[in-house]
């Protein structure tokens, strides 16, 4: 059960621990919680995956539907990413219109998917200027125990990797085809606790954090998105160091997202 009020005593404790290279749940500073993914969790989606990082659980469903291409990109399909931080998932989330926090999660994930050219959008064109596939990536948070961006990205990548173009349903072709995924972006989030910078912050660590930095990388060794969040600061040297750490974690996260299971 999560508390509604965060106790200051936990913040102090987390900072004390971090100064000694320790964390409340016994993890190392540069250690993720257990990561796992279940692709194909939702049959009504054209692609889906349930991702867990520790107690954090995020479900992503992909829907592919024919629509009209944007006028300035008549030969390309359309990609939209949306994240729902539903009140079921945390006492901190309330019903109502999307909170800026939900919008941040969806936009950071959207940027990584887009910049990594995860999907070749020209392959989603059906009739130039008239009909193209719209790829809806809906990220549904079910249990919030910290680090929604990494978990959401993992669920999205897992869902995209296992998605099918429903050609038959919309009379576009005789057979359904797999959605082609060209690149595999993953996000890696860090939180500053005093002088220490921990990876994969828990919800308590996020509350105590003096700055958060997310770095998205892909398998082609590119940095494809970044986001500094929360109140706090990082030096350029911090950032360079974190990029190296993000690449190291990225390979393992990518392997989990592509294969399914845990890692």
């Amino acid at each position: 059960m999560s508390d509604e009020v965060s106790a200051e005593i936990l913040t102090t404790h987390l900072l004390d621990l971090a100064a000694k290279g320790q964390r409340m749940d016994g993890r190392g500073i540069d250690q993720y919680r257990p990561v796992s993914i279940e692709p194909g969790f939702v049959e009504t989606a054209d692609g889906s995956a349930l991702a867990h990082i520790g107690d954090t659980t995020v479900l992503c469903g992909i829907k592919l539907e024919p629509g009209k291409p944007f006028p300035d990109t008549p030969n390309a399909g359309v990609l939209t990413t949306n994240a729902e931080l539903v009140p079921l998932s945390s006492p901190m989330f309330e019903p109502g219109p999307p909170h800026p926090r939900a919008i941040e999660v969806s936009r950071v994930i959207d940027r990584a998917i887009r910049a990594a050219e995860t999907i070749d959008l020209t392959k989603l064109c059906v009739t130039p200027g008239e009909k193209s596939w719209v790829c809806y990536t809906d990220i549904h948070v079910l249990d919030h125990a910290g680090n929604l961006i990494d978990t959401g990205m993992l669920a999205a990548l897992g869902a995209l990797t296992h998605a099918t173009l429903p050609n038959k349903r919309f009379g576009i072709a005789e057979a359904d085809t797999s959605l082609e995924v060209n690149h595999f972006p993953v996000e890696c989030t860090f939180a500053r606790l005093g002088d220490a910078i921990v990876v994969d912050p828990s919800v308590e660590e996020e509350q105590a954090a003096q700055g958060r930095l997310t770095i998205a990388t892909d398998e082609a060794n590119r940095i494809v998105a970044m986001q500094k969040g929360l109140i706090g600061a990082f030096s350029p040297d911090d950032v360079k160091d974190l990029v190296e750490r993000a690449f190291r974690h990225g390979d393992r996260l990518r392997a989990v997202a592509r294969k399914g299971g845990s890692g």
Binding site: S2, T44, E84, V86, P91, Y136, D143, A145
Partner: protein, 247 residues
Amino acid sequence: MGSVGAKEVPVLLSPEGLRIDGRHLEELRSIRIVAGALHGADGSAFVEWGANKVMAAVYGPREVHPRHLQQNNKAIVQCRYNMAAFSVDERKRPGLDRRSQEISKVISEAFESVIFAEEFPRTSIDIYIEVLQANAGTRCAGVVAASVALADAGIPMVDLLPAVAVGKVGGAIALDLKKEEDNYGEADLPMALVPQSGRLVLLQMEGHMTREELAKALDLGVTGCRAIYEKMKQALRDRYASGGGAA
């Protein structure tokens, strides 16, 4: 519920009296209930029922925000039934549409009928239902999940609240409709039963039935609810009889 693609009406009832998925008229789809599926809620449950997947969480009793909603003599019971965008064939726009708002209201009132809300004045008991995969009967699956979640959250109530829909397919009264039966059948009658009193606290109907058919459907629904009731109790026993629970 609308559907995409094939518009041809399928044969819903075989000459042998079997349904589209081979079930008998009085047979439920398979049901799996997990009590305590989430770490952060006061109570939670996950229900897989046929091809439905529904998660429910309960928060509270807790302070009411905004405060003007407070009731001086009892807790307010608020349910939010929501469908994930990818839970249906055609992507659903995120957020509560009119259907979801109506369902949220009747489910809130069903639970208000069984919760001892006067034990917690000026508080709120919040019930959240998320439909992750829909295949007809999601409001009933939602009620079942939410009811197990309420018990998991230690909320005092008259009884658990099993629910099921009865319908009319191919001219016959059938228990627990699946999607094709719901889309092409002649009637749909979702209900939730208080087993202790034998009364219904949720009841809706869409379609048409004769008096005799309705009487039969109500009886069949009550029988179905009692079978689901046993599964709900077993899910809670599995979580608590081993002394675990309340993570």
